[in-house]
């Protein structure tokens, strides 16, 4: 993974933060099986509803965005676990059968 990999999500997040937005960044930290995005893939979310990047093929972005809103409000980071063993798998699991962990943090 390099800085220029596809798009600089963290750079986008930093620019939003600098413009006064409240921003959280979600990062894929671990994958198992056929998950679509490798560890290090990122998504940035603002309180105002802006989004950049992705952490999956689209299957868990909604749930991650919800978690990001919570982290923006509380300031507390979260380590999310998505996959077939997740209790909400039928809702937001990965259709591909993969598993991912996603770390969500606020840009302070």
């Amino acid at each position: 993974m390099s800085f220029a990999e596809t798009e600089d999500v963290l750079g986008t997040a930093a620019a939003w933060r600098a413009a006064g937005e409240q921003v959280a960044v979600a990062t894929v930290t671990e994958t198992w099986g056929s998950s679509p995005r490798p560890a290090g893939s990122q998504m940035a979310v603002t309180k105002s509803g802006k989004m950049a990047g992705s952490v999956s093929g689209g299957c868990i972005e909604g749930a991650v965005a919800d978690a990001a809103m919570k982290t923006i409000d509380t300031g507390a980071p979260q380590l999310l676990d998505f996959g077939v063993t997740h209790e909400r798998a039928w809702e937001v699991g990965l259709a591909c059968g993969g598993k991912v962990k996603v770390f969500v943090e606020k840009l302070s």
């Binding site: 993974m1 390099s2 800085f3 220029a4 990999e5 596809t6 963290l10 750079g11 930093a14 933060r17 960044v25 990062t27 930290t29 671990e30 490798p38 560890a39 290090g40 980071p77 979260q78 380590l79 962990k101 770390f103 943090e105 606020k106 840009l107 302070s108």
Partner: protein
């Protein structure tokens, strides 16, 4: 993430210095590596992540760390500001390559034809000496003109570039190999050149040829098997 960490990451990026952002899970404590003050195991794991260019979660003792590897961008040097180069540059940029186009013919290498990309109008040998291809650099020659392609290939073969490709038919390529042999390059060196350049997808148009080149570049970078091409006897 604190503003200090973010600023330090940005500084490393501008300096093209490889760094790892280590995040302790799940509490989110962060530090940049390498750091002489960090435990040896953490520095070693960070060095491996950078070497393999792969972000990874590691367990040290009872602690999980997510190591986010930030390497400077891969580079692509394109020799020949030709039509195929115009199609190749955006593909390569999207795939994370920092691209430099080299062509001493100013009418080809105009800003108008190549907006938002670094263009050098130096002679290819001089440009290559200046750009110093390393093991994270790919070199592709597209001019068909021996006096432009050959000096670039000569320099590329003397570098650790991870990919060297040269446009031209099998016949053109065989003649090219003969000239490079005359410059003192042995068969092992010449085998590093992908020629004709690109995966065989029966490409016809400039964007299709660019796609075949970028596909081969990605295949080599990611360690996928790339078929050896049999050069035609000259």
């Amino acid at each position: 993430m604190t503003p200090d960490i973010l600023a330090a990451l940005e500084q490393a990026r501008l300096a093209k210095r490889p760094v790892v952002l280590a995040t302790r899970l799940p509490d989110g404590h962060q530090r940049l590596l390498p750091d002489p003050g960090a435990p040896d195991g953490l520095n070693a794991a960070a060095a491996q992540a950078l070497r393999e260019d792969e972000s990874v979660t590691v367990r040290l003792g009872t602690t999980d760390w997510f190591l986010h590897a930030y390497n400077p961008p891969l580079r692509l040097i394109v020799v020949g500001a030709v039509h195929i180069a115009q199609a190749l540059v955006p593909f390569a940029t999207q795939c994370g390559f920092a691209v430099t186009v080299v062509d001493p013919r100013r009418s080809f290498a105009s800003d108008e034809r190549f907006p938002n990309v670094t263009v050098s109008t130096a002679w290819p040998d001089e440009a290559m000496d200046e750009l110093k291809p390393d093991s994270r650099t790919a070199v592709v020659t597209l001019t068909h003109d021996p006096k432009l392609d050959d000096p670039a290939l000569d320099r590329a073969l003397k570098s650790p570039a991870f990919y060297i490709g040269s446009l031209g038919s099998r016949r053109t390529h065989a003649a090219r190999l003969k000239r490079l042999r005359d410059l003192g390059h042995d068969e092992a060196a010449l085998a590093r050149i992908q020629g004709p350049v690109g995966l065989n997808i029966e490409a016809v148009t400039a964007p299709e040829i660019a796609l075949s080149i970028i596909a081969e570049l990605v295949a080599v970078r990611r360690g996928a098997p790339v078929p050896q091409k049999q050069p035609q006897a000259a």
